[in-house]
């Protein structure tokens, strides 16, 4: 499996125990073709789209986790983690909604919590949040404790007779 992928795509590196998890690191251009290729090979279940904020490298790491519905026992055991890195400033990426239908809410979530803009997504409307934040809240440089102090703790109690602040 790993050899096959490495021979088909350029500039990727794979690692993993080969039995249960395989990690594929690739450039951002190849991700969408990689996903559609993997879907054709039988990895047709998109389990998760996640994102890790690598603040030290000033990069965001996108992780697509795929597994298989059909296939034999060995294939069902296998999870493929497709990873790519995009810059942290003004992050943009391509949508996977046309390959996997359930990618849509994941991309909306990442748009909201990490500020990644997915090009070609049918509706990147807010999913969870009601208030607007300067920095998307799941990034590492967003300090929730400071935010709580600045916003929620500043609201006064209605009756001050009890002497609470």
């Amino acid at each position: 499996m790993q050899y096959e992928l490495r021979s088909m795509f350029e500039g990727i590196s794979t690692e993993g125990d080969g039995e249960t998890r395989v990690t594929v690191k690739c450039r951002k251009e190849t991700v969408i073709t990689m996903l559609s290729f993997l879907k054709k090979t039988g990895f047709d279940h998109l389990a998760l789209i996640s994102c890790v904020d690598r603040i030290n490298n000033n990069e965001l790491e996108l992780v697509y986790i795929l597994s298989s519905y059909g296939g034999d026992a060995a294939m069902q055991k296998l999870n493929i983690l497709v990873k790519t890195r995009i810059p942290r400033e003004n992050p943009q990426f391509y949508t996977a909604t046309e390959i996997f239908r359930n990618a849509s809410p994941y991309e909306r979530e990442l748009h909201e919590l990490f500020g990644i803009f997915f090009r070609g997504h049918p509706g990147l409307t807010p999913l969870f949040l009601e208030r607007e934040y300067d920095i998307p809240p799941f990034r590492k440089d967003f300090d929730t404790r400071k935010y709580v102090k600045d916003v929620f703790d500043q609201i006064p109690f209605v009756d001050d007779k009890k002497g609470r602040t």
């Binding site: 969870f128 009601e130 809240p137 916003v151 109690f157 209605v158």
Partner: protein, 194 residues
């Protein structure tokens, strides 16, 4: 029913009616709702005390805030609370509405519920057991008897302050104020204070 209560029934039927028929608004605001089904079904059976869940805020007079309140939920809590007919009672269920509980540093949950709507009683714990609901109900009875469950009156009195707190978190509210807002008075009072 207690026979000693007959006198009270003649003296203040309204109060006694409020006491023995607390209709709780069914609103799953947080994870505390998991203990409400056991409370109203076979094992604990809250209907013995006249506590039943009802479908719309118009029919309810008890608002159980079950668990943490996120900012998005707060908007609906305020709307539901303002739709309930008076007199109405609010009970915070669980630690989270009291002071944020274990979400004290979360960016999306409000920490003190009583900054936004008046609360008549609290049930601490995560998760409080169903018995705690009954303890809260009996405490609420005592409060109603003594005329101390006056959260709704407080809401009327301090409506300007409550509304201002609500708008600080939610931005401009899209529904008209329930009571009149004393905008100028507040400003002039501030000036005097300065």
């Amino acid at each position: 029913m207690d026979r000693n209560n007959i006198g009270k029934w003649f003296k203040s039927p309204g109060n006694m009616g409020q006491k023995y028929s607390l209709h709780a608004l069914y609103f799953c605001t947080g994870c505390g709702i998991i203990e409400i089904p056991p409370t109203i079904t076979t094992r604990w059976d809250a209907e013995r005390f006249g506590v039943i869940p009802v479908a719309t805020p118009r029919q309810a007079n008890l608002f159980l805030i079950t668990g943490y309140v996120s900012v998005k939920t707060l908007r609906y809590i305020i709307r539901s609370y303002e739709q309930m007919p008076e007199p109405k009672y609010t009970v915070g269920f669980g630690s989270c509405p009291i002071n944020g509980g274990m979400y004290w540093d979360s960016y999306n949950t409000i920490k003190h519920l009583d900054k936004y709507i008046p609360v008549d009683g609290w049930i601490a714990g995560c998760m409080p057991r169903p018995e705690a609901v009954f303890v809260a109900v009996t405490h609420l009875w005592t409060l109603i008897d003594k005329g101390m469950a006056t959260g709704y009156l407080k809401y009327r009195e301090h409506y300007t302050k409550y509304r201002r707190n609500q708008e600080k978190v939610l931005g401009k509210l899209e529904w008209p104020p329930l009571f009149s807002i004393e905008e100028e008075n507040e400003k002039s009072r501030e000036k005097v204070a300065v």
